[in-house]
C-alpha cells in the first residue's frame, strides 16, 4: 500500500475543492444570471475539459507551465520555482480539469432559483450580499454539494492530466491512480488491487455522504 500516494491524492482533491468551489459559485452564478454577448463561448470554454482527452489538456498545460511560457514564467517570477512536476502544478491542472464538474451543477442550481425570490429579498430589506448568504446559497446548497462531490471524486480518479503535468514523483505528484498504474506495470497485482479497492471505497463514501446529506432537506419541493 502506497500511503504517500493516498496522501497526495487526498491533499490534491481537498485543495481542489477548497479553491474551486468558491470560484465555481461566483462563476456559476454569473453564468446563470448574466445575459451578455459571448456567454455561449464562456460556457463552451468551461465545458471543454469535459470532452477533451486528458492527455491533450495535459499536453497544453505542460507547455504553458514551462518556464518559457507566459504562465510558467509568471509563476517562476513570483515564487522562484517552476510548475511542471510539482504539487502546485498538478493542483493548478486539477483546478482547470475540474472546472466543468464544479461550475455546471452550481450554475444549474442558480438557474433554478426563481428570480423573484431575490427581488422579494431586496424588498424585504436584504442587501445583495445578505440575499446571497441567506436566500441564494441555502437554495443552491444541493448544487454546491454535488459539485464538491463530483470534483472530489473526479480528482481522486484523474490520471492523464496529472501524469502529463506532474509525472510520478513520490510524495509530490504520484497520486493513488498513478500509483496503481505503476504497480500494474511492475506486475504487483496485489498492491494494485489493494489500492484500487481503497480508491473505490473512498470515492463511494464521499459520494454517499454528500448525496445523503444533500437529500435530507425538509423543504425540498416534492
Amino acid at each position: 500500500m502506497d500511503w504517500s500516494a493516498l496522501s497526495v491524492s487526498l491533499r490534491l482533491a481537498g485543495f481542489t475543492c477548497l479553491i474551486l468551489i468558491p470560484v465555481a459559485i461566483w462563476l456559476g452564478r454569473a453564468l446563470a444570471y448574466a445575459r451578455f454577448r459571448g456567454k455561449g463561448l464562456c460556457e463552451a470554454l468551461v465545458a471543454l475539459p469535459l470532452v477533451l482527452p486528458p492527455t491533450v489538456l495535459g499536453f497544453y498545460l505542460l507547455l504553458s507551465f514551462g518556464r518559457d511560457a507566459p504562465v510558467g514564467s509568471l509563476w517562476a517570477n513570483i515564487t522562484g520555482s517552476g510548475l511542471n512536476f510539482t504539487f502546485t502544478g498538478i493542483l493548478l491542472a486539477s483546478l482547470i480539469a475540474n472546472l466543468p464538474f464544479a461550475v455546471q451543477p452550481i450554475q444549474r442550481a442558480f438557474e433554478h432559483v426563481p428570480h423573484n425570490l431575490r427581488e422579494a429579498a431586496w424588498c424585504s430589506g436584504l442587501s445583495p450580499w445578505q440575499t446571497l448568504l441567506r436566500i441564494e446559497l441555502p437554495l443552491v446548497w444541493p448544487g454546491i454539494m454535488s459539485a464538491a462531490a463530483l470534483t472530489f471524486a473526479h480528482t481522486l480518479g484523474e490520471f492523464g492530466v496529472i501524469l502529463m503535468v506532474g509525472g510520478a514523483i513520490d510524495g509530490e505528484t504520484r497520486t493513488l491512480a498513478i500509483a496503481i498504474y505503476d504497480r500494474v506495470q511492475a506486475f504487483d497485482e496485489q498492491g494494485a488491487a489493494q489500492m484500487s479497492a481503497l480508491l473505490l471505497l473512498v470515492s463511494f463514501i464521499t459520494l454517499g455522504l454528500v448525496y445523503g446529506l444533500a437529500g435530507r432537506r425538509r423543504w425540498v419541493r416534492g
Binding site: P114, L117, E119, A120, W122, C123, P138
Partner: protein, 392 residues
C-alpha cells in the same frame, strides 16, 4: 385652479401646489416597454391598476418598488422622492420600504412561515423579532402554522404569509401584484374580504394590480385604466363605469352600449340624433356645436324595460321600440340584446324571472326607455378608436 392661458402650455394640475402625502407616480419612456403613466394614491386608499395583460401594470408596480428603472419619470412616496430620472436619483429597493406581494408570493422555500415573516424584521433583536412575526402571523389568522414550510401550506395560506411578510416591513406603500390569481374562487372571495378588513387597519397607499374588473370594483377606491403602458383614466369605480373618458376605456372596462350620435335641434331643443330617434340628454349636449358627431355610452342600468301589463317609472323618457335579438340566461340573470331599427344593439341585464314575466322571446318587439341622466357623451372620440389602440 384654471391657469390655462390661451397660448396653451400650462395645464392646471392639482399636483403642483398640493404636496402628496401618499404615492405619486409619473413614468414615461418610449421603449423597450412603452410607458406613459401618471397616477396618485393617497394614504389609506386602494388604487387598482387594471388593464389587459401586457398593459404594463406589473412593470409600473416594479417601478414603484425599485425593481425596474424607467428612462424618465418620478416616483415619490410619503414626502420622499424615490426615483427621479432628471436628477439621476434612484433609491434601491432595500431603501424604499415597500411591502410587495408577488404574483406567486415568492416565499423563501427554505424558511418556515415564521422565518419568512422574520426576514424583513432583521433590524430587531431576535426575541423581539420572533414576537412581532408571531403577531403578524396571528393578524393574518395563521397562528399555529408558523413552523410549516411554504410547500406545506395551501395557496391561500401562502398568500397570507406573503401579505404578513410585506406588512412586517412596516412599509410606506403596499404593492399587490395579482395577489388572488393563484387561488381557487372560494379562497379568493375569503382573501378579498380579509384584505378589505385589513385595509381599515393600515394607513398607507395600497396599489393592487389586477385584470379582474370585478375584483377592482369590489376592493378599490380608485381605478386607473392602463392600455399599452398608457394610463388612460383614474377615477372611483362608480364614476369610471358611468363616465368612461373614451370609447376605448369603455371597451377595456367591458362596457357595451357604445354608439355614435349627432347633435341636432328639434323644436328649439338640443337633442342627440341616434338613427331615427332623437334622444333627450341630461348633461353635456348644450356645449356641443350643432351637427357634431359624438360618441356616447349608456350604462346598462339606465336602460329601463317597459312592462307589458302596467306603466313603469321613467317610461316617458326616450322611449324606444326594439326587437329582442338574443337572450342569454346566466342563472338568475338574463342578458338581453335588443336590435334597434337602424341596426345598433342595446345590451342590458335583467332578472331571469322578470324576463319570463315580460314574455321576452327572440324576435319579440319590446319598449325600453333610455334614461336621459345616464347618457354619457364623449365628444372628440370616435366609437371605434382602434387606431388609438395600436401604438407603433
Amino acid at each position: 385652479m384654471d391657469w390655462l392661458g390661451a397660448d396653451g402650455g400650462y395645464v392646471a394640475d392639482s399636483r403642483i401646489n398640493v404636496p402628496i402625502e401618499g404615492l405619486d407616480v409619473a413614468v414615461h419612456q418610449t421603449g423597450p416597454i412603452p410607458l406613459a403613466a401618471d397616477f396618485v394614491c393617497q394614504p389609506g386608499e386602494l388604487l387598482a391598476l387594471v388593464g389587459p395583460s401586457g398593459s404594463g401594470k406589473t412593470t409600473l408596480l416594479r417601478t414603484i418598488a425599485g425593481l425596474y428603472r424607467p428612462q424618465s419619470g418620478r416616483v415619490a412616496c410619503a414626502g420622499d422622492v424615490w426615483f427621479d430620472a432628471e436628477c439621476k436619483h434612484s433609491l434601491s429597493p432595500q431603501r424604499r420600504q415597500v411591502g410587495m406581494v408577488f404574483q406567486d408570493y415568492a416565499l423563501f422555500p427554505h424558511l418556515t412561515a415564521l422565518e419568512n415573516i422574520q426576514v424583513p424584521l432583521r433590524h430587531l433583536p431576535q426575541p423581539k423579532r420572533r414576537e412581532q412575526a408571531e403577531q403578524w402571523l396571528a393578524k393574518v389568522r395563521l397562528d399555529g402554522l408558523g413552523k410549516r414550510y411554504p410547500n406545506a401550506l395551501s395557496g391561500g395560506q401562502r398568500q397570507r404569509v406573503a401579505l404578513a411578510r410585506a406588512l412586517a416591513r412596516d412599509p410606506k406603500v403596499l404593492l399587490l401584484d395579482e395577489p388572488f390569481s393563484a387561488v381557487d374562487q372560494v379562497t379568493r372571495r375569503r382573501l378579498q374580504r380579509e384584505l378589505a378588513l385589513l385595509r381599515q387597519q393600515i394607513e398607507i397607499p395600497i396599489v393592487l394590480v389586477t385584470h379582474d374588473l370585478e375584483e377592482a370594483t369590489a376592493l378599490a377606491d380608485q381605478i386607473c385604466v392602463l392600455h399599452n403602458g398608457v394610463s388612460l383614466q383614474q377615477a372611483a369605480p362608480e364614476a369610471l363605469f358611468r363616465h368612461p373618458a373614451s370609447p376605448l376605456i369603455a371597451r377595456l372596462l367591458d362596457r357595451h352600449n357604445l354608439f355614435k350620435g349627432t347633435v341636432v335641434e328639434v323644436a328649439g331643443q338640443r337633442r342627440l340624433q341616434w338613427g331615427k330617434t332623437y334622444l333627450e340628454v341630461a348633461e353635456g349636449l348644450a356645449n356641443l356645436p350643432l351637427g357634431e358627431s359624438v360618441a356616447w355610452y349608456l350604462p346598462p342600468s339606465d336602460i329601463v324595460l317597459h312592462r307589458r301589463d302596467r306603466p313603469s317609472q321613467g317610461e316617458r323618457e326616450n322611449p324606444l321600440a326594439a326587437a329582442v335579438e338574443e337572450l342569454v340566461v346566466l342563472g338568475g340573470i338574463t342578458s338581453v340584446s335588443l336590435r334597434v331599427n337602424h341596426g345598433d344593439m342595446l345590451r342590458f341585464d335583467i332578472a331571469t324571472h322578470a324576463a319570463r314575466r315580460n314574455q321576452l322571446t327572440r324576435g319579440a318587439v319590446v319598449n325600453v326607455s333610455l334614461l336621459a341622466a345616464g347618457i354619457h357623451l364623449m365628444p372628440g372620440h370616435r366609437v371605434r378608436a382602434d387606431a388609438h389602440d395600436k401604438r407603433k
